[in-house]
């Protein structure tokens, strides 16, 4: 798996110790790589090696489906219905963990809300602002902050996924979840009138973002928010982990993306993604591996992940844990979402997502109109065949 930081990584050693204690004749080896390496070269290399892992971390959606197609994903449906996992998950936890409705290929681990609006409460109080519930109110809030001389919204979009996530959420709200999914799966054009309309909403944020939007890294944008150089930032629930060490004294909270009343999608949808562990179909120790994953999500395991700052996907994940209320409410928001939308680069065709994110970056940077940006994106997809 990829590293999630020392607090989380060390809990895998604890899990291994627990497993060894319960099954003295078995041995667990935990391999943790740098997150970026794991995602790109680490896992594929391991899976094609002679020492392929028995279980491995993955994001739900197409990456998981790809492993299943390659023969590296074991169907866990039967195991998850057994006593080993009894009562540990709600049905919603398995969203995007099946392949076209056939089988479940992951033991759910954690969930991340990929995009919310984090705001500096002191700025809102000073300016007499309230949390906006509609897009027009949201723009009015941004305008009021801009008029006060502050930067309303900071993004660190150097790697394109931060604004790409926002564009994903706006698009699903405006065009509806089905057309959004079809577009991201390459079944509908990126430059449809509906998508152009959706990008119009993204463009309406451009006057309020930092000039360096496409030059700044995401963690640098977090720092700008923590240093109160910007009143709001749109990013995922993992901001809480950075805030624990970098935002001492900052009074901040979050709200979900405001509703776009004319939109065809669910206006209270949540943009999020779940993670889990897959079992290698080629493993010689499938039953033993399932035993380990069952321990990972039992009450003791769940508590360990929650204390390490994660939002486990199990039932009642924060029982007996002194967790930050914002972390708890984010987890509840994810687990109780009426509609869960996945970001373009996590739930869909990655090349379509890349073109979509290019367009979003051009629009938020003010270098292209929605129509121009999406025409270019579609043209690039067409040219690449």
């Amino acid at each position: 798996m990829g590293s999630s930081g020392d607090a989380v990584d060390s809990q895998f050693d604890v899990l291994a110790d627990r497993y060894h204690e319960k099954y003295p004749n078995r041995t667990v080896e935990v391999v943790i790589q740098e997150d970026d390496i794991y995602q790109t070269t680490g896992l594929p290399t391991l899976l094609t090696s002679r020492e392929a892992p028995d279980a491995y971390f993955e994001w739900s959606g197409p990456r998981m489906a790809g492993h299943v197609a390659d023969g590296n994903g074991y169907d866990l449906t039967e195991a998850l219905a057994s006593d080993k996992f009894a009562g540990r998950f709600n049905d919603g936890a398995f969203t995007n963990m099946d392949v076209d409705g056939s089988g479940t290929y992951m033991v759910p681990w954690t969930g991340d809300v990929t995009n919310v609006v984090w705001y500096d409460k002191s700025v809102f109080e000073d300016l007499g602002l309230t949390v906006p519930t509609t897009w027009d109110e949201y723009l009015a809030v941004n305008q009021a902050i801009l008029d006060s001389g502050k930067t309303p919204l900071v993004f660190g979009n150097k790697d394109q996924w931060p604004v790409g996530s926002v564009a994903s959420q706006i698009a699903s709200r405006v065009v509806g979840e089905d057309l959004y999914a079809d577009t991201m799966d390459g079944k509908a054009p990126l430059n449809s009138p509906e998508m152009v309309e959706a990008f119009g909403y993204l463009a309406s944020l451009a006057p309020y973002v930092n000039d360096s939007v496409n030059a700044l890294a995401d963690d640098e944008a977090n720092t700008q928010f923590f240093l109160q150089k910007a009143a709001t930032i749109q990013i995922g629930s993992w901001l809480m982990a950075d805030a624990a060490t970098d935002a001492e004294g900052l009074d901040f909270d979050y709200f979900n993306l405001p509703a776009i009343p004319s939109g065809k999608g669910d206006q209270s949808s949540v943009l999020g993604i779940s993670t889990g562990f897959m079992v290698n179909a080629k493993s010689q120790h499938i039953d033993e591996t399932i035993d380990l994953l069952a321990m990972m999500v039992d009450e003791e395991g769940t508590k360990a992940w929650a204390e390490a700052g994660l939002a486990p996907m199990t039932i009642d994940p924060f029982a007996g844990v002194d967790a930050d209320p914002r972390t708890v409410s984010l987890a509840e928001m994810l687990s109780s979402a009426s509609t869960l939308v996945t970001p373009a680069d996590s739930g869909h065709d990655i090349e379509v997502a890349a073109a979509f994110y290019d367009a979003a970056a051009a629009v938020i940077g003010g270098t292209s109109t929605p129509q121009e940006a999406l025409d270019t994106a579609q043209s690039r997809l067409d040219s690449a065949g």
């Binding site: 790109t40 594929p44 790809g66 390659d70 890349a354 051009a362 270098t367 690449a384 065949g385």
Partner: protein
């Protein structure tokens, strides 16, 4: 003394050739083979003939990356080779006590690229950067830019950093060549009434022309291999304004997991680089290479 048998040199070269074949030749051939396939790295490989190559010539981003790479080569020839030549000329003209300058100009060459990239990202920062800070201090706010976030300035901004690093390297090799020019040649030019500039451009530069040609070859092939500076400073953005062949290659292979297409792109790149290299070498040998080498 015993005569050397005909096969002895081949025998002596065999171990080195075996290593070369194992680490360069065989992987290169395997990569070329993979160019004709569709493969994600873990799925079943399927042969697609020339499809990947046809796709490459339709791929707008790949073509843009080539354009950017060639523009970058143009910038590096100016900011690295020409600037290095000028610096070497100034240092040699200054005579003694130039060691400090030579060391100072060369220091960037030995710094880790990652450190340089991060350092210059701060220099170019729009709000806390040295450049914009200086401009604001001089009351020239209208000239401030988001240097790395503006498609019109990002490529030249990264190229200037490349120049800052390597101008000192080329200065060092040109300095060594300039110091080997016979003194009597320079004295004769001075006696004939040539100014310092005339001596430099009409006597010194022609005499170190072979070294300049080598520098151009190194600079051009090096520019094709550039990656880390771009990856850290801009990651190919904004809007692919700094996308060069290597950054796009990494995106195709590691983000899209399209290994067959990536292999085709790298095969094309190899052919282009080798062709350009051979042309430059050919021009150099055709010209006879007169001067101080």
């Amino acid at each position: 003394m015993k005569p050397v048998r005909a096969w002895t040199p081949y025998l002596l070269l065999a171990p080195a050739f075996a290593v070369f074949a194992f680490v360069v030749l065989i992987p290169a051939l395997a990569n070329t083979g993979l160019s004709f396939a569709n493969w994600s790295g873990t799925d079943t490989l399927s042969w697609v003939g020339l499809d990947n190559f046809a796709r490459a010539f339709r791929d707008e981003i790949y073509l843009k990356a080539y354009g950017n790479t060639f523009i970058y080569i143009g910038f590096t020839l100016i900011f690295e080779v020409f600037a290095g030549l000028v610096l070497a000329g100034l240092v040699t003209a200054a005579g003694r006590k130039t060691a400090f300058y030579r060391v100072a100009f060369f220091v960037p060459v030995v710094l880790p690229m990652l450190v340089i990239a991060v350092l210059w990202s701060f220099v170019y920062s729009d709000d806390i950067g040295l450049i914009n800070g200086t401009l604001r201090g001089l009351g020239l706010d209208s000239l401030t830019r988001v240097w790395l976030g503006d498609p019109s300035t990002a490529l030249i901004a990264v190229s200037l950093v490349s120049g800052w690093i390597y101008a000192g390297f080329y200065m060092a090799i040109f300095y060594a060549a300039l110091m080997r020019i016979p003194k009597n040649v320079l004295e004769a030019a001075t006696i004939d009434g040539a100014s310092q500039w005339q001596v430099f451009f009409r006597v010194k530069v022609p005499m170190i022309r072979p070294m300049i040609e080598v520098a151009i070859l190194l600079c051009v092939t090096g520019a094709f291999q550039s990656f880390d500076l771009f990856y850290v400073m801009t990651n190919g953005g904004p809007d692919h304004a700094t996308e060069i062949i290597t950054t796009y290659l990494v995106e195709v292979v590691f983000r899209f997991h399209d290994l067959g297409y990536g292999a085709a792109l790298s095969t094309i790149m190899t052919v282009v680089v080798v062709t350009i290299g051979l042309v430059l070498v050919r021009l150099r040998t055709k010209d006879g290479g007169n001067g101080v080498d």
